[in-house]
Symmetry: C2
Subunit: 234 residues, 2 copies
DNA sequence: ACGATAGTTCGCCGGCGAGCGAAACGTTCA
DNA sequence: TGAACGTTTCGCTCGCCGGCGAACTATCGT
């Protein structure tokens, strides 16, 4: 009986060991927005030398948490998958509970809308997921969340590209817990693709150097037409 | 910009460090079925001495992953919450992918039905969650999954205790990923309470010394009446 | 009141690994 | 071709932490 459990003990410890070093944790967190970054930048973000950083990146690579893309004399590292990203967010979450970010603090844009790996999170992300669920546009199945046909229709009505919306139908969504709102929002392939569509349509704009997403006035109006609650001065 | 992220770097590393030691990982895994166990037993399960075990248990306690219950000269340790349990299962999962458990192996009872922390997992768990979702008995809201009134009615019809079912209505469920079926099943307070009800009604029986749950013939019939698929010889 | 048992505290040892500087390697640009 | 730059490899030191045995405390049984 003891033997049945023991293999996973080392698997668990292996992942733990990879996250246990603040320098490696910082590197992973720097990549959680889905970007690819060169080794030197990651070392700088972690506050360590290039040599040490290289060693850490190799361990993360061997551990399957990172992937590389070689381009000339640069090596761009990124998270290996959105499974990994979901894992990091989930792990960074529970310890945050006693130290919730200051509601009046300077992170307001982040709290409003941001990317969580590649999908929409923050107040808008939670609101959108909530609205889609409440109207039955999004339904949970055992393989994840699925966009319904009437939901696709509503998204096109609201102004998203019809072809892009059509391609959302076979995708599966994953529910992802938001650390500022402490509510569910839509992640997974479906969440990523939907977010891309909204950015393409100009509802949201990426801010360089930050995970924050800037909603346009037009985008806000269209989101509200889908049932997303919004008080502009909150 | 760098400062906004850095606190969570240490939070992430702290959790990682707690999991990084195989002995601690073994202790956590030994508790993942939701039981409380005395310090000595956990040390034995981890294959270390009592002194070392005591130190590990204290670190896990300080880190908020464990809780204690003192009874006479015994100290019973358990996971601090089902958040922690969900975390452990989620972490033990991704590394398992290349080494999925042998379908023909001796773990068939575990694959059929088992406790995941305190709620039902395995083929029956996934099937039940799937059936409840498909019939609309269970619906997803942003705070989690909720049992609908017609769902409660159906559960009572199937033979569960009416008072117990009534108490399920205000509870929130969490979707939990199953590592053998790779599909969603129902966890959280709602999942726990529902599983308890089914055990009380004799549909399932706990097996001592294992996480496996043994379904009774009667219980299987009743689950099938709720729409759970079942081929007896699989 | 006594020994037996569960658990913790203390002190010590040994090994893993994080960190850096120096040097080597490969690519880019002039 | 040679200099500059990004990245990796190597060799080294040092601190942290896991492990145990022994002593101590607390509770239970008789």
């Amino acid at each position: 009986m003891n033997d049945a459990v023991s293999p996973s003990r080392y698997q668990l410890a292996e992942i733990g060991a990879l996250l246990a070093e603040p320098a490696r944790a910082a590197m992973l967190l720097a990549l959680i927005d889905g970007t690819s970054r060169p080794a030197g930048e990651l070392a700088r973000a972690a506050g360590i030398g290039a040599a040490t950083g290289s060693a850490h990146l190799h361990r993360l690579l061997d551990g399957g948490l990172l992937a590389v893309h070689v381009q000339g004399r640069h090596r761009y590292y990124r998270l290996a998958s959105d499974d990994v990203a979901a894992l990091i967010e989930a792990l960074a979450l529970p310890r945050t509970r006693p130290v919730l970010p200051d509601p009046t603090g300077g992170d307001r844009p982040l709290r409003t809308a941001r990317t969580c790996y590649r999908h929409l999170a923050g107040r808008l992300g939670v609101g959108l997921c909530d609205a889609l669920l409440q109207r039955g546009y999004l339904q949970t199945a055992s393989e994840g969340m699925r966009l319904q046909h009437d939901g696709a229709h509503a998204l096109v009505q609201a102004g998203l590209d019809a072809v892009a919306v059509q391609s959302l139908l076979p995708l599966a969504g994953r529910s992802c817990l938001d650390w500022t709102e402490r509510r569910l929002h839509l992640g997974g392939p479906l969440g990523v693709a939907l977010t891309d569509s909204m950015i393409d349509a100009g509802w949201l704009r990426r801010r360089s150097g930050s995970r924050a997403l800037q909603p346009s006035d037009d985008g806000l109006r269209r989101l509200m037409s889908l049932g997303v609650p919004w008080e502009s001065d909150r």
